[in-house]
Symmetry: C2
Subunit: 386 residues, 2 copies
């Protein structure tokens, strides 16, 4: 187990009608609230009305930043920063999924500095000295942004999608009501689950492999997500399945399973490049890349992949080589993505093979873990994804 520092101060209010905790949470802040949301689905399912009613009762002045898109872009962040300054915003409430919450985090950091948020934080990795407080109401189980301090923003002009995190950027609270996810389009539910599974794998498939309890929890979480996604696909209003998926979203990236682990995150970097060039859903890109990434790196840590195949997919191991078991496990993951209707090739998300060179060139290189990744390696992974 590697050394670690851990702190996650987010207050989670979880369950049916958890929005009842919103008034008490809002009481801590000034009157001017910026409500941030996406394409307007919250106006159809009643969440918007419920929030506006509470805001009225709490005598808040509500300003609205709507239209936050999937793969949220710098323009939207600048728009939010401007609104914060013009209206002396005291608090922000993000209502939506990872895109809305990540955009809110960027506004939180960017509105409390005179410097340019993109250059200072996302490119320059500068220290966030101050942050505008915010809370979240989650509407999709996916990114875990509701319970961590990181966010991903896309600079569409420069074709860069990258992340920034800082301990001052934790939500003050997050309201998680599984019922809010009942009306989610099916593909979004699927991509959300792929994102959760991918977050788990970024930690799990990395050194050290010393029997760390984080890996044990990661396997438990993986099996839980698969079991509950299978139920939710058949019964979209199964509360139990939706509740487990929602909490798994937070657990997969609130830091608990990352403890003592090196972590990899190269699959996410490659997916960020796919999205930055082709604006595909994050979960779709991950479904394409992750199994192929694992096929590329497994040879350096075969025992871990044997463990994964046996413990997560119950693949019989007797009489087989480590390589065979490892590849069966990865193959089973890829097959599962196909079964649930996620894409597993670049062709399926309409990315031409000719774009591979450009995407590889645009991928942010991290050290990786099992296999140090060069730009040539990224290209090879993408070739497996064709």
């Amino acid at each position: 187990m590697r050394d670690f520092n851990f702190c996650n101060p987010v207050r989670v209010h979880f369950g049916q009608n958890a929005i009842r905790h919103l008034p008490a949470e809002l009481a801590d802040y000034g009157p001017n609230v910026l409500l941030i949301y996406g394409g307007g689905s919250i106006k159809k399912n009643g969440i918007y009305d419920a929030v506006i009613k509470i805001m009225g009762e709490q005598k808040k002045n509500v300003f609205e930043l709507s239209g936050v898109m999937a793969n949220p872009r710098t323009e939207k962040v600048y728009e939010g920063i401007e609104m914060v300054r013009e209206n002396n915003i005291d608090f922000m409430l993000a209502v939506g999924g990872g895109s809305v919450i990540d955009c809110t985090k960027a506004i939180s950091a960017g509105s409390r500095t005179d410097k340019d948020f993109w250059e200072t934080f996302f490119i320059g990795r500068g220290e966030c000295q101050d942050a505008l407080p915010f809370g979240t109401i989650l509407t999709i189980a996916a990114t875990g942004s509701e319970m961590n301090s990181g966010g991903v923003i896309t600079n569409w002009e420069k074709k860069i999608k990258t992340s920034y995190g800082h301990r001052r950027l934790f939500p003050k609270f997050s309201i998680l009501d599984p019922i809010y996810t009942y009306t989610l389009p099916k593909n979004q539910m699927i991509y959300g689950a792929v994102d959760i599974l991918s977050h788990i794998m970024e930690a799990y498939f990395s050194y050290p492999d010393d029997g760390n309890v984080s890996d044990d929890i990661a396997e438990a979480l993986t099996k839980n997500v698969i079991a509950n996604l299978n139920v939710a696909l058949k019964e979209p209003t199964n509360y139990h399945a939706r509740a487990n998926l929602m909490w798994a979203s937070s657990l997969a990236l609130n830091g608990i399973i990352n403890i003592g682990k090196e972590q990899d995150w190269m699959t996410h970097q490659i997916e960020h490049a796919l999205s930055a060039f082709y604006d595909i859903p994050h979960g779709a890109g991950l479904a394409v890349v992750h199994p192929n990434y694992l096929k590329y790196v497994y040879g350096n840590a075969p025992k871990k992949f044997v463990r994964y195949a046996a413990n997560v997919w119950q693949i019989p191991t007797a009489g087989k080589t480590e390589e065979k078991i490892a590849l069966e496990g990865i193959g089973r993951l890829q097959q599962y993505f196909r079964e649930i209707g996620a894409p597993t090739t670049l062709a399926e998300v309409n990315i031409p093979a000719e774009a591979i060179g450009e995407i590889a060139a645009g991928t942010n290189l991290l050290p990786g873990s099992y296999h140090p990744m060069t730009r040539e390696d990224v290209k090879n992974v993408l070739l497996l994804c064709k």
Copy 2:
């Protein structure tokens, strides 16, 4: 999954020489620090000297409250409250295990009110309006007190051992260095591991049993503790095993595996009565009571015990009744406690059968979960422990 509210703001610094984070943590507080510790083992293993050196460098005025006993008593809390008031203490540093940390929590709440801490909080369950900040340096993997907001104090005169918890009583930080546990006496390591396993079971063996991810994590954690205790018993200086046990101590009671669960805690209530009357180690009492408690209640939730037997102890289930599998699982747990050298009968901890009535009468009754517990039920459980 039941509704829940979750927040755990403790900053954990984990790893070899994690004490290097102490200066930065102390910088946030005033100069007068009360150092709280137990019987002096920290003077033998160098931790005391390391702390005192850092305190000097940070120009802190150090006051000391030493001699905090296992099953810490009200007298020690009063002594600490008095020292805080006399010396205008700004911050407390607890160096030790659960007893030292729990005592510190009681002083934290008790020194910031004019009322009597015992009557107000531990008996009256009053709201903690203010708390003196404190941090911890952990020296034994056991209670999880380093990462939660609860504590247990014994009123020896009244023969009452009971707990109190409040969100203002989280440590500001906890320093977890697995090497600090290398020199722990063997029986303390064993009792600590029993305590960890017991905390997990208080959550796991309770409703709802709906496939909640908390139960999946609980099983992963249980298997990890058993595997690493087995290693640490043979190799007391195995860093990996000690690290897993130490972090498991925190995970078992930092709230993560309690999420969405009713929780039981009746085994802990019965053990508290044992300790209040006979001052036995908490972990020893739990090893005696927990398997017998489970034997008493399993009939109301046999499927959960089948799951436990199969997943934790790999007990073959084919061709057996639920009852047989359940009892084999509980039997395996009890056998494990014997194998590691923990007591499993009242006789082994020198508690006479004649005392059972008195102990049952002195046990705090909670609702339990699988089996609502009357005083007669407690007596019956204790009769199984003879």
